[in-house]
Symmetry: C2
Subunit: 249 residues, 2 copies
């Protein structure tokens, strides 16, 4: 069976969706069978892949009205489970259910034959993010090298420890992916050093450089890899996919 990866960071705007879109596309280009789930009620990943809202979504799957394979749509070689705002209502309705943390992992159990299954999470550590972590083998934390992002790192780590203790699981953070890196800013390398010296969570050696093409690509319904393949961020995401496939951080 393949690897299930939760792209998590409750700090907002840290490139979770951009990483989910581009990592999926990059892994699919390298011949891997990839499934990606939009697990954020904002449905940014669904928009970024140019998917209209009228298809079946992951909210229908959690409500057990569809199976996961029913709602998958092919985009750039990957199979995408669209999200929608209804996920927010589903989250509230799950709160009093027994086994509320396991709805996503149950839905994924019915799916076969993928190498990577990627879950784009909302900017919170609420029940949706917990469902994603419980379903995942490991998580990747995209992070801007800025002090406000550092504060959240302890919260993610504590949340994962609490989940592992409560449900006897073994989820871990495979690595921190530095995103929107700007070599001209000293701040970035200071924070990278701080993380390496103070946290036992590894930093991936690939770093994603900031590039205006990355913020333009979603309006064309494409990954930056397909929209501007020679841009810095496209090159960096292809390199990151290779690093993940070779299983280093």
């Amino acid at each position: 069976m393949g690897e299930i990866i939760a792209i998590v960071n409750q700090k907002g705007g840290t490139g979770k969706t951009t990483t989910s879109v581009n990592l999926s596309s990059a892994l699919a280009r390298q011949g891997k069978d990839v499934v990606v789930i939009d697990f954020d009620p904002q449905a940014n990943l669904t928009y970024a892949f140019g998917i209209e809202e009228n298809e079946g979504t992951i909210a229908d799957v959690l409500r057990e009205q569809n199976s996961l394979s029913d709602v998958l749509l092919e985009r750039e070689g990957a199979r995408v489970a669209p999200g929608d705002i209804a996920l927010a209502d589903v989250e509230v309705s799950l709160i009093n259910e027994i086994g509320r943390e396991f709805f996503l992992s149950e839905a994924i159990k019915g799916l076969n034959g993928y190498d990577y299954l990627i879950i784009d999470c909302p900017p919170s550590l609420s029940l949706l993010a917990i469902n994603a972590l419980v379903a995942a083998d490991y998580s990747i934390v995209p992070m801007q090298m800025e002090v406000m992002s550092l504060q959240g790192l302890n919260q993610i780590r504590n949340t994962i420890e609490r989940i592992n203790r409560s449900y006897k699981l073994d989820i871990y953070i495979k690595g921190i992916l530095a995103v929107m890196v700007d070599r001209r800013r000293n701040l970035d390398s200071e924070i990278e050093d701080f993380i390496q010296n103070n946290y036992e969570i590894p930093l991936f050696s690939s770093k994603i450089r900031t590039n205006v093409r990355a913020s333009e690509a979603p309006s064309f319904g494409q990954s930056v890899i397909s929209y501007a393949p020679r841009s810095n961020s496209a090159i960096d995401y292809m390199e990151f996919a290779r690093e993940l496939m070779n299983n280093e951080p």
Copy 2:
């Protein structure tokens, strides 16, 4: 009584905290009596004002262990109600309470003598953000001029309409504040035009330019206005405070 303002946008990383910190500091410098509440479990605003975690917080106020005035600390002329991660647990415990949407507005009722009360919200439209909207006279939506941010605008507007209908309130969006504006990028002005032509929500005439000083200031526990008063973002936030005081857009 003063104006209660919710700084809201469920899209992550759109400058809610940076705007809350700097608007509070700028209004206080113009002689106004300002209270600002960190209503995000990430507690970024608390960190950005250099506040250690050991004081009483807004989570204690919601649990009715302290009054709001008990927990206020003075920073840059404004009175700050610190937040902490316990807010996430309080949110879950409120879900089954009667009147769960009104806990914050009840807590604010006991406070007197402010000109502006600013609430920094988490990146979601969950119960905490709904409490902030219900307590507020109006909301300000900081937004990057990027397509992924546009998608959330309908969701915020729909949420406010649902709240007004359910609780017979009259909350409105006073304006969208364009943040991290980069004049070199064509995308920014295209999105601004799109908003002006397609939404009846006004854009403030002040815009906050992107500036590395803004992302450095939090590590010094200061607003960018006090850390780098001549930087573009400091100047822009002072101008925005004046615009708000003169009650345009």
